[in-house]
């Protein structure tokens, strides 16, 4: 601690550290326990309960107070000192409390949900580790550590998605999730490096606070100038793009969203906590942290992408038959709202929506968990080969699961944004501010709020479809298997308590005493941007009314189609249907446009390595060998050959001469005479 803090502050810091450290401790304890140990659940839950209490205290102390920032030297590299510390301001304590609050019911729920799993202990190890990473992420003050925990939440999400690692789909999904997130991580890392290079610090408080370094930096004449440095402005864009990539990956925004639906392979409780409420919100949280960094143009792009994501995901959710996938796409869609809100400058509404969404989406996932659990129960009891998550097989469950049904209705209404729910408050804020934002801009930007508006009706439709298919009408599985035994119910208190708790949190009173005006919510008041327009223009009254009236119609429409089979049935062959059902073909597109080329590049590189580089080596090798062989040949046949030839000559002469020594006297004589004769002849001739 480099600054002497008042006593209360140091207590708060200690409490914060405790909130962060408790889950880590729990994870470590669980890691050392046997894999099946049932104690693990209670250890983790206890840690979260304590964390909840402490974070509530911290929240109450810090909320709307001066930000609390402490740090300690982590290490020195070169002349750069890298600090580690906590930065407690409104947004971080809010997240701290939110994560603890959501984690608590999920933990309780999990103790029942995972009861029969072989690796129960390991599950809670991972879950606690996730909580630790997530809690640390929200309070940390250094970009390096932020990145570290950013990646650690991804890592724990990887572990949890692939928790049932013998299922191929699960491990494919976790690989995909991690790699998609890695793409984002690279963006974040690049952004951090660029920021570090520009400002020479990793400290979030120094960088992004009011009047911080980022505020003082200016863009001028194609240069990005800070107090210490300047670099081409392109790198400011790259940094923004990097941050956006990180957000897109973590918060499942287009085009990096495809991992999230697949991530539903993990246990449902995990989906509820990580892939609906907390981790995926980290992207939005990041936007909140580094908000000052973005320029207006960049924010516009952000808004467009958020809007597009929201619309696209909602359109996909219309036709999905997998219970969790529908929810996953709705999550993407809602995250799109948050991003859009950030883009249009509705900073407060965005975070507000983040909080409310966390509650009701977590609630919906837990409901889905109950439903799936019971379907699984039916499946196992009757030895059926069915997908327990397929909503086509469900129906009429409201009688069997009454509490679940009520919870589902509350969650759905919140998701649609019907008044009296929390969702209404936050979503309307976004819509209204989006319209206000588009007022002063070029006309085509009106598409953004309009798109958001459309999305909200689409949301109403698919949510109603979901509820209708699951809870209303007849139990369709019964049609195929009339002898079905059904012993199902809402489950024990571990199921009921979280549902009730979250359902209550999804209603308006937690956030605002006035259920109709979002700007009265205490949360929004504290986070609202300085340039907030008071309730003076027409949007504030028209939009809530218009949206909701139409939503109600849409809901009834959906209910009518899917429950009472009235009016008409949607054709299932049209282009739009297929586009939606196949999730806009993005997975296929990525497979062909990205994965295959990359793998192909890998293959090519290897080919290049084997054949070209090694080929050159081998060629040199061969040339050397050939030269050596030539030398050897020369040595053997030319140099030695000369010697051998001389020897052979001598030998053959010897052999020739030897022929005369055949022991025949007459032959000797003959030879002798012949030579004499030759001498004579020579004598005569010469």
């Amino acid at each position: 601690m480099n600054v002497a803090l008042p006593h209360t502050d140091s207590t708060i810091i200690n409490y914060t550290l405790a909130v962060v450290a408790l889950p880590l401790l729990a994870a470590l304890i669980n890691f050392c326990l046997p894999v099946k140990s049932k104690v693990a659940g209670w250890v983790s839950s206890a840690a979260i309960v304590m964390g909840c209490v402490l974070s509530a205290i911290v929240f109450s102390k810090v909320w709307n107070q001066q930000p609390l920032h402490t740090q300690t030297l982590w290490f020195t590299i070169g002349q750069t000192k890298v600090y580690a510390g906590t930065l407690l301001n409104n947004i971080s304590v809010l997240m701290l409390l939110l994560v603890s609050l959501i984690a608590l019911p999920v933990h309780i729920y999990s103790t029942a949900y995972m009861k029969h799993d072989d690796r129960y202990g390991r599950y809670f190890t991972y879950l606690s580790f996730f909580c630790f990473s997530m809690l640390a992420l929200v309070v940390i003050d250094s970009l390096v550590l932020f990145y570290a925990f950013w990646e650690l939440v991804g890592f724990s999400s990887y572990l949890l998605i692939g928790f049932w690692f013998t299922r191929d789909k699960a491990v494919q999904a976790n690989k995909k999730a991690f790699i998609m997130n890695r793409i984002g991580d690279i963006g974040l890392l690049s952004a951090i490096i660029i920021i570090f290079a520009q400002f020479h610090t990793f400290d979030i408080a120094t960088l992004f606070a009011d009047g911080g370094l980022v505020f003082k930096s200016i863009i001028k004449d194609g240069l990005w100038i800070s107090e210490a440095n300047q670099m081409p402005v392109i790198w400011q864009y790259v940094a923004c793009a990097g941050i956006f990539m990180a957000v897109a990956a973590k918060s499942a925004q287009f085009p990096l969203h495809t991992w999230l639906p697949d991530a539903m392979e993990g246990p449902t409780s995990v989906s509820a906590l990580i892939h609906a409420a907390t981790m995926v919100a980290a992207g939005v949280f990041l936007l909140g942290r580094v908000y000052p960094f973005f320029t207006d143009a960049e924010l516009t792009i952000l808004a467009i992408i958020g809007c597009f994501t929201a619309f696209m995901a909602a359109s996909i959710a219309l036709t999905q038959n997998d219970l969790k996938k529908v929810l996953a796409y709705s999550t993407i869609s809602q995250l799109g709202y948050m991003t859009l809100a950030m883009g249009v400058g509705a900073y407060g509404s965005s975070l507000f929506h983040l909080v409310t969404h966390a509650f009701f989406k977590c609630l919906l996932f837990l409901v889905a968990g109950v439903v799936i659990h019971e379907m699984q129960h039916i499946k196992e009891e009757n030895n059926l080969d069915i997908d327990p998550q397929n909503i086509q097989l469900m129906g009429g469950l409201r009688k069997k699961l009454p509490l679940t049904f009520i919870a589902a209705i509350v969650g759905s209404l919140a998701l649609i944004g019907i008044p009296l729910t929390s969702g209404y408050l936050s979503k309307d804020g976004i819509l209204i501010q989006a319209f206000e934002w588009s007022d002063g801009r070029s006309a085509w930007l009106k598409l953004v709020p309009v798109g958001a508006l459309l999305t909200s009706w689409l949301t109403a439709f698919y949510v109603s479809r979901l509820i209708a298919k699951v809870f209303f009408g007849e139990f369709r599985l019964l049609k195929h298997h009339p002898q079905l035994k059904m012993h199902i119910g809402d489950g024990g208190w571990q199921y009921r308590v979280p549902l009730i708790l979250l359902a209550v949190c999804s209603l308006f009173p937690l956030f605002s005493l006035n259920p109709f005006f979002y700007e009265n919510a205490w949360l929004f008041k504290s986070l609202k941007p300085a340039n907030f327009l008071a309730r003076e223009n027409i949007y504030h009254s028209i939009i809530p009314i218009g949206v909701n009236i139409l939503s109600v119609f849409v809901m009834y429409f959906a209910y009518a189609i899917y429950t009472e089979k009235r009016i008409f049935q949607f054709p299932q062959t049209g282009f739009l249907y297929r586009l939606s059902y196949n999730q806009w073909y993005l997975d296929k597109f990525y497979k062909h446009a990205v994965i295959k080329p990359v793998l192909g590049l890998g293959k090519f590189c290897f080919w290049f390595d084997r054949n070209i580089i090694d080929g050159i080596i081998h060629l040199l090798d061969n040339i050397t060998r050939k030269i050596a062989a030539l030398t050897a040949w020369t040595d053997k046949y030319i140099v030695d050959g000369f010697l051998h030839a001389v020897a052979a000559l001598v030998q053959s002469i010897g052999n020739f001469a030897r022929k005369f020594q055949n022991g025949k006297v007459q032959y000797y004589l003959y030879s002798m005479l012949l030579i004499v004769l030759i001498l004579f002849v020579l004598k005569i001739l010469i």
């Binding site: 003959y670 005479l673 012949l674 004769l677 004579f680 002849v681 005569i684």
Partner: protein
């Protein structure tokens, strides 16, 4: 053509023809006997060369000594010798003999060539001998002169020859002994 010349041709012809026959004959006995004829003819030629003493010695030693010795040797060896030799194929021109024939012919050519080139009749010392009348004439007697010369001028060769003969005698005797102690 004088008588002497005719005699010379006749003698020469007989000598050469018989020598050739001896050379070409496959039969050993015949060739031995034809060789007699050759020797006699040569003796005649010696006479024509005015060396009557040598001619006589020729007849005595060669015909009387050597040929008899050869015949003895032939007869002392067994019959098989004859058979072995007789069994040979008797074609007139044996291919194996062709190189020998060529050699002999070439030798003859060379010798004749040498003799003709040497032009023996016109050698300086012969001309000098003719001029000094140091030539044996048909009328002169040579035997006494030979006897004197042999005992005076050529005494040393004579003695050497005698010792040589002795050695040859001892050697021939030694070689001809029976197997075992040799």
């Amino acid at each position: 053509m004088s008588m002497i010349r005719l005699m010379f041709y006749v003698m020469s012809f007989i000598a050469i023809a018989s020598a050739l026959y001896a050379a070409l004959s496959k039969n050993l006995v015949r060739s031995i006997f034809v060789f007699f004829v050759t020797l006699f003819a040569l003796a005649g030629l010696y006479v024509l060369a005015l060396a009557d003493f040598v001619a006589v010695t020729q007849v005595v030693i060669y015909v009387g000594g050597i040929l008899v010795l050869i015949l003895f040797a032939f007869m002392l060896s067994r019959r098989e010798t004859l058979n072995v030799i007789q069994q040979r194929k008797s074609t007139f021109i044996n291919m194996a003999k062709v190189p020998a024939l060529i050699l002999a012919a070439l030798f003859l050519v060379v010798l004749v060539n040498v003799i003709l080139k040497a032009d023996a009749d016109n050698l300086p010392w012969i001309k000098e001998a003719i001029a000094q009348k140091n030539v044996i004439t048909p009328t002169s007697s040579t035997i006494d002169n030979i006897g004197v010369n042999l005992m005076t001028t050529y005494l040393l060769p004579f003695e050497a020859i005698s010792i040589l003969l002795l050695m040859a005698l001892v050697g021939a005797a030694h070689l001809s002994r029976k197997e075992g102690s040799a």
